[in-house]
Symmetry: none
């Protein structure tokens, strides 16, 4: 669960306090004390999560969030905003702008860690570049490679994303709508039956290693990837 976490906070004391706690928890903090610096750091290397103070000088916390959400490259980075207790209003606006959660100052390290963990768990699974392997089926997102029992498997882009999603969420049924949301993306207008076709193509590609039976149909519900 070691994550790179960008801390955007103008108050040096609080920034250092947070960084210390993150290091304690095994994370890798990156610190910025302004919106500009934050965006520069992000353009260099994508963090896994952003802790964003809402009350930066110039009220630019909101702007940072908006920019992160506006760019396709950074859209899916989870954001937790830090707010003072009095800024009740901002919470709504913040959540609206796309923050995943908020946390009210002052907060305990325990609380901070719990929220980080939860947000990462909710958002992360198929976002990481970790190699995933289940029952001889192996996907390497970084290298965009798939092998079945060591044999190379060729997949088209969509089949690749589909398999990757299924592998990172195994042993549970996904409806066609859920698959469309997670593999094709939100707000995409595509027939549900199209999922069937790509499942078919995926199974066909997996036939080589007799792994096609890992993709199971659950009649009336959807599809499931299972080790057995």
């Amino acid at each position: 669960m070691a994550a790179t976490i960008l801390v955007v906070e103008d108050e040096p004391a609080i920034q250092e306090l947070i960084a210390y706690n993150l290091r304690q928890a095994g994370h890798q903090p990156l610190c910025a004390d302004s919106a500009e610096q934050a965006l520069r750091l992000v353009s260099n290397a994508l963090p896994d999560l952003v802790l964003l103070d809402w009350m930066l000088p110039g009220a630019s916390g909101i702007e940072v969030a908006r920019r992160l959400r506006g760019d396709k490259r950074t859209r899916s980075i989870p954001i937790i905003m830090l707010t003072a207790r009095s800024e009740e209003q901002d919470k709504l606006q913040g959540l609206e702008t796309g923050a995943d959660d908020y946390i009210t100052k002052p907060f305990s390290p325990r609380e901070l860690n719990a929220r980080i963990k939860a947000v990462l768990r909710r958002r992360a699974p198929q976002m990481t570049d970790d190699v995933v392997e289940i029952g001889g089926l192996r996907v390497d997102p970084a290298g965009h490679r798939v092998t079945g029992n060591g044999e190379k498997i060729d997949l088209g882009p969509t089949e690749f994303r589909l398999l990757h999603f299924l592998l990172t969420h195994p042993e549970r049924v996904h409806s066609r709508a859920q698959l469309l949301d997670n593999v094709w993306g939100d707000h995409v207008f595509v027939e549900e039956r199209t999922v069937d076709v790509h499942i078919r193509r995926l199974r066909k590609a997996l036939e080589a290693g007799n792994l096609d039976q890992m993709i199971q149909t659950v009649r009336g519900t959807g599809y499931r990837l299972s080790a057995s």
Copy 2:
């Protein structure tokens, strides 16, 4: 845990915010911005839960709750009311009127989800995706799997829902009408005797592990699932 959730809220921004979060959590939001629209939607199709703003124009939030509680068809739908921090009074009145819980604006997605889950678990256990196990019979809603003493059991969609409902409401008798309401859904016109047939199919599937005796007939009343 995919539930249909009716959101009754006149403020468009908040309504959209809530809907977004519900979708994120895998639910299916239905939105209404007035008491009238809410009641109309409910008469169409029963939601699994209602998020109800207490301060609708005309203070009709209370009225909506009263109507929902007054109609037999909607009486058991869980209601969570949304209140502003200052409206302390209303909380009491709301809980009195039959709300299952309240949540104070502004609230975090985390908090909202936690409450929804808690209320659903209390009022409609079969809506959650928790694994249920009684006397060696085990149902995993997320994976859509059933095992009896470790052995895999195959069920059709209806038998699956039926067993899931019985497992989440064990040790009590359900009339055929209740089973039709809860497993088939209301607004469905089906002979009561059809329940018998599906009970039969369920028992047959459970015979493998000698678990069919867990489904018991209560003559003149209905059926019951018991640890035997």
